[in-house]
Symmetry: C2
Subunit: 307 residues, 2 copies
């Protein structure tokens, strides 16, 4: 239950990396795109088909190296319903290859609506007398601005189905300061959100001591990682902002506990777009992605030992 | 530009109501559901087909009464890609019937991802050399927890295409107090968010003086409505929480300026589910929805005069 499954996969692969499937159509090598466009035209369907082909190749290339993938919903939504169909296929295929799937949706809405979202992404939707699985990921990301009403329906699904969710605390982007760094009482707002996350998750801890509700804390703020790691002992961290956004292995080691557990670091572009740096027009995209994932694993290994 | 189109439609219909298309499958009358299930089985496709039939009937029934509809994305996502296809159809059909469409998505993510969302919901996605429209609503709802990075790409689309967006300030749900009512400096957090919204929107005001970035402020907090209306002179309000959640016409009048402008009030269940109270098994769902919409218009008219 909780984050146990993720932590076990991390230990098994000795790699606390999640590969972000932020698959913009421009990131797909030309030979894949052209094949899809020949078949479906320059349409949303054509783009979605190319994204799916690329994702499948990436999953095949990475499945023995990384414990998890994180598709970013925006890059499927912007291809309309064909994109959402390919997101469903991507999640299913990644699970079949033994990967843990975090759907990066950052949803947040009032109770009954949050319940519909929770059914869509972690549970099943009731149609007549039939329970239909929909996107059926292992884990999602959430936005807690609306308070526990927006979180509890997801937490209920997590507990019922051994799943988990990450709530935004301190994000990696520059303008995160505008709201998240406001002074709220004797701490900053992101710390207040962190406390709420740990409080909401109470009573859901798994074998490794982490609750079913984790927190998103950006790699671009190492001192915040250190501070929140100390304060939120039962909260698993998802750490974006590594690489392209500036976070280093030395920065993100603060997200881990003394046993090298309790966190996972995201990399998207550095793996997806690794082929753009080898001068082979993307024909080697699988090898390039593998090489980038291995390099990141080794960088992290130099700073973090996972017991 | 900005909220001009919405304000004009409100004045034309003399009705500041937006009908929420929060179309849960359980809200669809049995005769529509059964027909869809006979054709497609008790599947996501069957449910999506029923939701679309119901939406089309509601839009036909309401198009001369209300200025706007607001489909809630969660109730389409939880039907997977068939649900998203029906959401696209619903938005297109509502626009064809002259309605202003607010896609209630509450998205919020970092810059490049926010851009993909903005393309999906307000703009177009570039596929090869072709610009493809996707959901193409007039307006969306957003979550500003991540700061201006999450908002600016939408604002750019708003300015380029005469569209608009609402950002969550103070939501109508009970647990909104947990974060939104934290003390931040000399005001509460929702007021700080309100100030950010008005600042982010600067320079985008339309004919009626309202900027392209509005705020969501719940009907369940009339004193907050009054306070924010005074403070945020150029910010259009979307007001949820009327009816089922407890907000009255006397409460929501505080959302409007002295000319009866600058706000729109949402009603979902009271209109969608009006048929459940007439004892006719939903065969009269269009008449029941019309009657509920007329009743709400008259309630609002008793407190708000739109000039």
């Amino acid at each position: 239950m909780s984050f146990d499954l993720l932590q076990e996969k991390i230990r098994e692969k000795k790699n606390p990396t999640v590969a972000g499937l932020d698959t913009r159509i421009e990131y797909v090598p030309a030979h894949i795109r052209e094949k899809s466009f020949r078949e479906h035209g320059e349409t949303l369907m054509g783009a979605a088909d190319a994204v799916w082909e690329f994702n499948r190749g990436l999953i095949d290339a990475l499945a023995d190296l990384v414990p998890a993938v994180k598709p970013q919903a925006a890059y499927y939504e912007n291809l309309g319903w064909p994109g959402m169909a390919m997101l469903e296929k991507t999640i299913r295929y990644a699970k079949e290859q033994g990967l843990y799937v975090i759907a990066d949706i950052k949803r947040g809405d009032i109770g009954s609506t949050a319940q519909a979202y929770a059914e869509a992404w972690l549970g099943t939707t009731r149609v007549g007398g039939t329970d239909c699985p929909v996107f059926d990921a292992h884990c999602v990301t959430l936005n807690g601005y609306m308070g526990s009403d927006a979180i509890q329906p997801f937490l209920d699904q997590c507990v019922a189905q051994g799943k988990a969710a990450f709530v935004l605390a301190k994000t990696s982007n520059p303008s995160s300061v505008e709201l998240q760094d406001l002074v709220a009482g004797d701490r900053l707002l992101y710390a207040a959100m962190g406390e709420l996350i740990e409080r909401w998750g109470r009573g859901t801890a798994g074998t490794y001591g982490y609750q079913a509700l984790g927190a998103v804390v950006g790699a671009t703020h190492p001192s915040v990682l250190k501070q929140l790691r100390r304060k939120l002992e039962r909260t698993f961290f998802l750490v974006p902002g590594y690489g392209a956004q500036g976070g280093t292995a030395a920065d993100v080691r603060h997200a881990f506990d003394e046993l090298g557990r309790g966190a996972i670091v995201n990399a998207s572009r550095s793996i997806l777009c690794a082929w753009q740096k080898t001068g082979k027009d993307g024909l080697d995209y699988q090898d390039a992605a593998r090489a980038a994932a291995i390099q990141m694993r080794e960088e992290l290994k130099a700073h973090i030992t996972i017991l």
